[in-house]
């Protein structure tokens, strides 16, 4: 990946996104924020994957990663949809959107 052609640039951008997203995933306590972070990391990984498929500008982007990324995006959506439903249901039942052990102050462990 010599020089700064489009593929390398976006691959580095993807790596950066993974770092940012992972931080969001670890640091945030609110479930929806962690879900946003999860999607950011996901799209970062797809960016790395897609950029690695576009290294040969002359041949055009490699269709296999593209297909896999579309599958990945749909799977990520499915996971997000289930998580959102879980978070809403948990908020109705327990009145909070964080796991007990993440709740600062009150002891999570019953």
């Amino acid at each position: 990946m010599t020089g700064l052609d489009t593929a390398t640039l976006f691959a580095w951008c993807g790596a950066g996104l993974i770092g940012i997203g992972l931080y969001g995933f670890l640091a945030n306590r609110h479930m929806l924020r962690r879900l946003v972070a999860f999607n950011v990391v996901g799209s970062g990984i797809f960016l790395v994957f897609g950029a690695s498929g576009a290294r040969r500008a002359d041949l055009g982007p490699d269709p296999v990663p593209q297909a896999l990324i579309i599958t990945g995006i749909v799977v990520a959506l499915a996971t997000t949809a289930l998580l959102v439903a879980l978070v809403i249901r948990y908020a109705d039942l327990a009145g909070r959107a964080t796991l007990p052990e993440d709740e600062p102050g009150d002891d999570g462990k019953e």
């Binding site: 993974i18 995933f25 479930m31 962690r34 999860f38 990391v41 996901g42 990984i45 797809f46 790395v48 994957f49 690695s52 498929g53 296999v64 990663p65 896999l68 599958t71 990945g72 799977v75 499915a78 996971t79 289930l82 998580l83 879980l86 978070v87 249901r89 948990y90 039942l93 327990a94 796991l99 007990p100």
Partner: protein
Amino acid sequence: MILPALAPALSVAVPLAAAFLAVVAPRPRLLVGVTVPAMLAVMALAVLGVRQGGPLVLAVGGWEPPLGIALVADGLSTAFLVATALTIGTVLVVALPQFPIRQNETRAGWAFWPLAFLLWAALNAVFLSGDLFNIYVAIEFVTLATLALVALEGKAKQVEAAMRYAMFALFGSLAYLLGVALLYAAHGTLDIGLLAQLPAQDTASLVAAGLITAGLAAKTALFPFHAWLPPAHAGAPAPASAMLSALVPKASFYVLLRFWFDAMPEAAGAIALQLLGALGATAIVYGSILAVRQNRLKQLVAYSTVAQIGYLFLVFPLAGGSAEPQPWTAGAWTGSVFHAVSHAFAKAAMFLAVGHAVLAAGHDRMSAMDGLTRRMPMTAFALGVSAVTLMGLPPSGGFTAKFLLLTAAFASGQVLWAAIIVLGGVLAAAYLFRPLARAFLPDRGRYGTVPRAQQALPLALAMLSVVLGIVSAAPYDFLQTGRPAAAEEGLE
């Protein structure tokens, strides 16, 4: 004989079709009655095919890898397929009275059946797939079906357990996905067979290997990532937790086995292998200590899963890291597969039996076991036999696995793992005999019982793990089909 070649395809198609029917026309008695025998027939076909013609490789859609996806049914995958079929088959029959479809359809009554069949299809898809990205989709499929099953009861504790599980599972699948992406970027193929022939020492492959191992370890609830398993498996309804505890962590462990022993045999550095072994050993000790302190039955059995999963990871220091097989690698590798399969039967039997005890007593505290031998002798016997397997005492499959791992530990001079294995057995006895002893206490006649016909099923499943211990020569040879170099016995 083209029929066996269809076995891999059918073993995914049949449960999917059953699931679609379960969604549209929920008649569980009919569905289970048709699907379970059909699947057992398909499994018999697969075993026959693999025994005669060696591994069955099916290029889906006629496209050969690297372009298409190859479904591989060799000794290892067929063993897991058969274990899954027998376990889920029994669980479904046991679940029939617990999730009935009366005239007004209930939420859990409807949802359990499609989810169970889909989990079955997902597990079969994982065990058959020879393509790393396809494994990603199948593992995600397993995780989502498990999430739904864990939260099926719908109370705050279960939803919380599902969310905690989701956090670990999401991290796991992202790490695995990134690893697969890097591998494709580095080698241009995702097929395990083709990857094996490529040299894998460049940075991208090593980073990918690390990510894939971390991701799958999180999904298998290996020691540092085990916090989600006990609440999730204890919270789910008994038939569901039987499927979850017995099979789901095994799916991600199976992928680890495929990755480290088939895709990149030389890539593992010694430190990585010892680290995995150390984490497994800590899991055994930590899981057992926590299991001893539990006073709820389902929690105790769930923590025992955390401990038993530790045994599986001992295969890496014992047999990993080198392509050319030492005499003991085949023994250690087969030992860990024996452990995985016999643990699946025993754990499923134990969760079902505990489920019946909890059903009869109305609560899942230890006192639910009082006087079990008089009220429900078959359930007590099933608990006893499955406990024997989990402790690795003869004549169970667990003992054969423990013996193979021990022989490999001594043959390869890593005596520490031997001590851990034996200590694990004694600790397992410590936390399993506590509830079993209560079964002999006289019950004050306040608990009911479960019809005998239903009690027989967990017992049959538990006896399967004992049969595996007695008739173990045939499975041992069967597991060697498709292994790159089947080394001779583990001792000389």
